[in-house]
Amino acid sequence: MRKLKEFIIEKLILLCGLASIFFVAMIFLFLLKEGLAVFTTVNPFDFLFGKSWYPISEPAQLGILPLILGSLLVTLGAAIISIPIGVGCAVYIAEIAPPKTKETLKAGIELLAAIPSVVLGFIGMVTLVPLVKSIFHLPTGLTALSGSIMLAFMAMPTIVSIAEDALYSVPKTYKEGALALGATHWQTIWRVMLPAASSGILAAVMLGIGRVIGETMAVMMITGNAAVIPQSILAPVRTLTATIAAEMGEAVVGSEHYFALFAVGIVLFVISFAINVTADLFLHKRQ
């Protein structure tokens, strides 16, 4: 009897484990099925490297290069802002902060992660956008930079908590050894702790970036959504995610536009899959 119970529970857990893989596979197959249909009318090269996105014109122009570059630019900006701050914050929490400060900071970071992105987008729209406009004397504050700053806030909790974890799991003996050899606290952190935790920190960065590139609501509200190849970070951009969100309602099921949006989804899926795999490789290297 007990054996049977054990057996059933084991199989149930196995099923749960397989479920997530099953769902991912189904989602990917659905994406492929709907998205690849667009390539019967547009050739893949023109789709990926076309410079104009006019999906509802006759004939439609479906070039997503401005959208890809828009997504990459916003993500790059967010990475440049969030990585130094995030890693610095992790180092402080793991190595320097006294226990009480440490708890407060960790709670703060968790709170930051809990803010819904639409709220961040809204706050950005009324505070950050006018600020960016007046600081840089721009015609409009709805720019890639505004998006990057807001997304950096979203990437930070991920980066901080995973990087802190990585620093924490560096064996204590490393630190003790370095200090015993006469290294200062800073030298220990910079020369010993950070290199020892480097693969974990890289994974943290990749996962943070993964979160940023898939973010939709906040970028749609504050980046201006102009489908033009961005000349600088102070120009408006249109991201892959915002395009899908803004246009899916319009696309008639089964139309070329509808398939094209699914193909945009495939591109997005491939990008975030690549980022997650890279993060995973770094994490495994550590172990």
Binding site: E58, P139, G254
Partner: protein, 284 residues
């Protein structure tokens, strides 16, 4: 009795299923953001008088409304543009026969910030502005500032109407597009807010959204004609050059409840609501 039980079960257990069945007393209306307030006012007044009927109104854009009419998920699509050939073909394939009813008119206002000295443009200048052939306000007699173009997203009937009638000047062979640098905002209110705070911005939306924080431009058909402001009188008399009809689309000729609602919208009382919500009554 059995039928009654069936209907009650239907209403409680399968509301979604019930929407598709003919003897229910609710209507789904979906589509144009421009018309959503108008349709909502009609629905409220109508439901006050017919408390047993239920009318749900949602926005999302004309394209959204028409595509749900085609997919059979709404009874009336509200649209601020004509249905496209492509959409009719798709609808026919799915056994839907779109039927067009003109319910009101709308003047499209082109707005700038009250701080902007420019107050009148011609249609040709407008086309040049939105296709980025004119990029600086000084070319129009304003300050030396780069023009910031604000447009609605592509799911908006207003976007499509503006493109076809202003940018392409009603020429079906024209290939003019909005300049790729135009900012795509997701609602008329977002455009109103950005124009209010940005002296270099120019945007367009239905007359109903004009407030004291924006300045509507007076528009002339060409250099030799008079510049007209977007007012109800000018739209009725057809003097204002950018006005458009607003439509209901139904599947086939309207029947039962849908017909009752449309008759209400076109009645004197319904058309008074049109005026109250800053639109222009459909010319009889």
């Amino acid at each position: 009795m059995l039928k009654k039980i069936f209907i009650v079960t239907c209403l409680t257990v399968f509301p979604a299923f019930c929407l598709a069945s003919p003897d229910n007393n609710s209507i789904q209306i979906k589509g144009s953001d421009t018309m959503v307030n108008l349709a909502q006012s009609w629905a409220e007044k109508y439901m006050e008088k017919n408390s047993s009927d239920f009318i749900a109104v949602t926005g999302g854009g004309s394209g959204t409304g028409l595509s749900s009419l085609i997919s059979g998920t709404c009874d009336i699509a509200i649209s601020s543009r004509n249905i496209k050939e492509k959409e009719i073909t798709l609808a026919r394939q799915r056994g839907i026969n779109p039927n067009e009813i003109k319910v009101a008119l709308d003047g499209l206002a082109v707005v700038v910030s009250p701080a902007n000295p420019v107050s009148e443009v011609t249609l040709a200048q407008l086309a040049d502005i939105f296709t980025a052939r004119i990029t600086n306000w000084k070319e129009l007699g304003g300050k030396d500032e780069k023009i910031v173009l604000l447009s609605r997203e592509v799911n908006s009937g207003t976007h499509v109407y503006f493109k076809e009638h202003v940018l392409r000047k009603n020429d079906p062979a024209s290939r003019e597009e909005f300049a790729p640098g135009a900012l795509m905002l997701s609602s008329s209110q977002a455009i109103a807010d950005e124009v209010a705070g940005n002296p270099a911005a120019i945007g367009y939306y239905g007359m109903g959204y004009i407030s004291k924080n924006q300045k509507p431009l007076a528009i002339a058909t060409d250099e030799n004609s008079a510049y007209e402001a977007p007012t109800i009188e000018n739209v009725i008399s057809n003097k204002y050059p950018i006005s458009r009809p607003l439509f209901f689309y139904t599947n086939g000729a309207p029947e039962s409840l849908v017909k009752k609602f449309i008759d209400f919208a076109l009645s004197k009382e319904g058309q008074d609501i049109v005026i109250a919500t800053d639109f222009v009554p459909a010319a009889k």
